[in-house]
């Protein structure tokens, strides 16, 4: 009954139109080198909060799916991936363009992206309710450990230097302490400012971190004239013989993408490289990869779009975002009054199934846009940086202001943007910072509740099996790479001496 009710909601003409608009913006943002999917999500977030009911969520889902696909267009046409997720697509996509087969490559990329997205949506619909039943037994200590686990995975995987990743996460956690303490109502680090009383708003931080700082990067690079596409695109839908040939690749890569997406801390870039390598390994002619094989385009594209549904599995069932993109989705859900976690599947069935069904529709629109609007999107990468950057700044300012009608938010966003620009230059990753800011409240609240139950004893976190297991995995993921690296260095230095 719920599913039928939800289908009725999602398929309302207004909601379909909004999802379509989201997918359009997503493909546009993804296709534009210099703009990222997270940036698109951050900029659209304040706009979606102004819509009623499910409309905002559906628009964000459209952006989320569209941006991942959009990155492949410029990767294939001008050898510049719109997002990091499409870097592997260049390997065989650009050689196909050089051979005059750009339309074929774009057709396969669109088909693979749509297939991957729809496959992961099916997996989400199938696995999420099952996982949420397991997670129903979770209480405060497990939630605390789960948040530690999510934070540790992202921190350890998103940085070249684990220490810098952890520092970045701690900065986010510290920023989350500003404002009133949730349990006692005490003011913390507000410096007598009424602006800071409500805490550090997430949207200005998000826009500053991902959009404004990117504008500054574009200014530093200048690159006034972008590479222009010369290829004329005609028929893009792949022939039946091609579909039959690439089908096993689509299936395998979609499965890889969904699994990788479901592991917190991973992302589309890891999934697409892994799927590409696996396809090459399983192929009878691996030596042909890199010269323009359609399987080499299909594998990364199916995998990176399958991540979208995979990453929503831990987000909806456990409240743990799979990557930076889903971290923004987590923030968006919280702002809409939806608290992701196992209870979501019992208390907010309509909303959770709206997200799942919305993911199907968003992927379908993404495919439709890909096949019908490819000529338009293939020109998006031609927009020079000198026009793109001012547009980014304008939307940063308006997007930030739209949330609370606060000029203070604009100043905070600009400050965070400059800080992010400097920190990124010094190799401090940004995803752990935003996750720290989002998960800070959850961590502290569940720690306070757990300690209240245990009369102040920290042993509660290690005497409960699931909590202990999560903590062990979290600490291993942070410290094991450090230990292995130290041992390797020692062995190598001994050998050389």
């Amino acid at each position: 009954m719920t599913l039928l009710e939800v289908i009725g909601v999602v398929f309302q003409p207004a909601h379909l139109f909004i999802t379509f608009c989201g997918a359009f913006v997503g493909v546009f943002v993804g296709a534009m080198p210099g703009l990222s999917s997270i940036m698109g999500l951050s900029l659209m977030l304040p706009l979606t909060l102004r819509f009623d009911g499910s409309a905002g969520l559906l628009m964000l889902l459209g952006v989320f799916c569209g941006a991942i696909y959009g990155g492949s267009i410029t990767a294939i046409l001008i050898r510049t991936p719109g997002t990091a997720n499409s870097a592997a697509t260049i390997l065989d996509g650009y050689p196909l363009t050089e051979q005059g087969k750009a339309a074929q490559a774009l057709g396969v990329s669109t088909l693979a992206s749509t297939f991957g997205g729809l496959f992961s949506a099916v997996m989400l619909l199938w696995t999420a309710p099952l996982l949420s039943k397991v997670a129903l037994s979770f209480t405060s200590p497990e939630y605390f450990s789960l948040a530690v686990f999510g934070l540790s995975m992202v921190t350890s995987l998103s940085s070249k230097n684990v220490t810098k990743g952890l520092i970045s996460a701690l900065i986010g956690l510290m920023l989350a302490t500003v404002g009133m303490d949730a349990l006692t109502g005490a003011k913390r680090f507000t410096f007598s400012s009424t602006y800071l009383l409500g805490g550090i708003a997430m949207v200005p931080v998000l826009i500053g971190l991902y959009a404004f700082s990117q504008g500054l990067v574009n200014i530093e690079k200048e690159d006034a004239q972008s590479t222009r596409t010369s290829e004329k695109i005609r028929r893009t839908f792949p022939r039946w013989s091609v579909i039959k040939r690439i089908f096993p690749t689509l299936l395998r890569s979609s499965l890889i993408g969904t699994l990788i997406g479901a592991i917190p801390g991973t992302g589309g870039d890891i999934a697409s490289w892994l799927a590409y390598n696996e396809t090459k390994r399983w192929d009878k002619h691996p030596e042909e990869f890199g010269t323009g094989r359609l399987e080499g385009v299909a594998a990364p594209e199916a995998a990176n779009n399958a991540v979208s549904g995979g990453a929503l599995i831990p987000l909806l069932t456990l409240g743990i975002p799979g990557d930076a993109g889903t971290a923004v989705m987590l923030g968006a859900l919280m702002m809409q009054g939806i608290v992701p976690g196992p209870l979501l599947f019992t208390n907010e069935k309509v909303k959770v199934y709206t997200i799942i069904v919305g993911l199907f529709v968003a992927n379908a629109f993404m495919g439709l846009l890909g096949f019908c609007g490819i000529r338009l999107f293939s020109k998006v990468g031609d927009v020079p940086n000198k026009y793109l950057t001012p547009i980014v700044f304008a939307f940063c300012v308006v997007g930030t202001y739209a949330l609370n009608n606060s000029v203070g938010d604009i100043f905070l966003m600009i400050l965070i943007g400059f800080l992010a620009f400097l920190l990124s230059k010094l190799d401090y990753p940004m995803p752990p910072l935003i996750l720290g800011l989002i998960l800070g409240g959850t961590l502290e609240k569940n720690m306070q509740r757990s300690l209240l139950v245990s009369n102040g004893s920290f042993s509660i976190f290690v005497t409960r099996p699931i909590s202990l297991l999560l903590l062990i995995v979290a600490f291993s993921s942070v410290f094991l790479p450090m230990i292995i690296s130290a041992v390797k260095t020692r062995v190598l230095s001994k050998k050389s001496s």
Binding site: T163, M174, L216, I219, A224, K386, Y387, V397, Y401, D427
Partner: protein
């Protein structure tokens, strides 16, 4: 990179100590709770001090990270554009406070385009007007958002 790692670590240790000092004053545990409002910031600050110390040690003993590698080249043309952009954005913030959204945006958009190499005044004017018209239609007319008016026009 080395000097930046040392500098940032020292700064983070200093900030953490200040947070601990501030948290201790608010920390008198509120009755009925196991954890006062200052406990969590103290835990975080202690971990931050530990990590900053680890970063200092890693930087000191890491031979792979040469001291002369500069992650930020302060005198490069790119960074010079960043300084100018920072100045323009500071002026934009002041104009936003005084004259409101539209005038400050005209300043920001046109100067950033000029900074990035656009010299055609007609193009600058047309693109600025186009962006502002788009924002007006979508955000003001359709979404009913009231843009900041500025102190002088209130």
């Amino acid at each position: 990179m080395k000097k930046y790692n040392y500098g940032i670590s020292a700064l983070l240790i200093l900030i953490s100590l200040l947070i601990i000092n501030n948290s201790l004053t608010m920390n008198a545990a509120v009755s009925g709770t196991a954890m006062g409002p200052g406990v969590w910031p103290i835990i975080l600050s202690a971990i931050m001090i530990l990590l900053s110390a680890v970063q200092i040690l890693q930087t000191a003993f890491n031979k792979k990270e040469p001291g002369h590698a500069e992650p930020i080249e302060f005198k490069s043309p790119g960074m010079k554009r960043i300084y100018i952009a920072a100045g323009l954005i500071a002026v934009f913030c002041a104009l936003l406070r005084l004259f409101g959204f539209y005038l400050s945006m005209v300043f920001l958009l046109s100067t950033v385009m000029y900074l990035l190499g656009e010299r055609n005044k007609v193009k600058i004017a047309a693109i600025t007007a186009g962006i502002l018209a788009f924002i007006f239609v979508v955000f003001v007319l359709l979404l009913d958002l009231k843009m900041p008016a500025g102190m002088l026009f209130k």
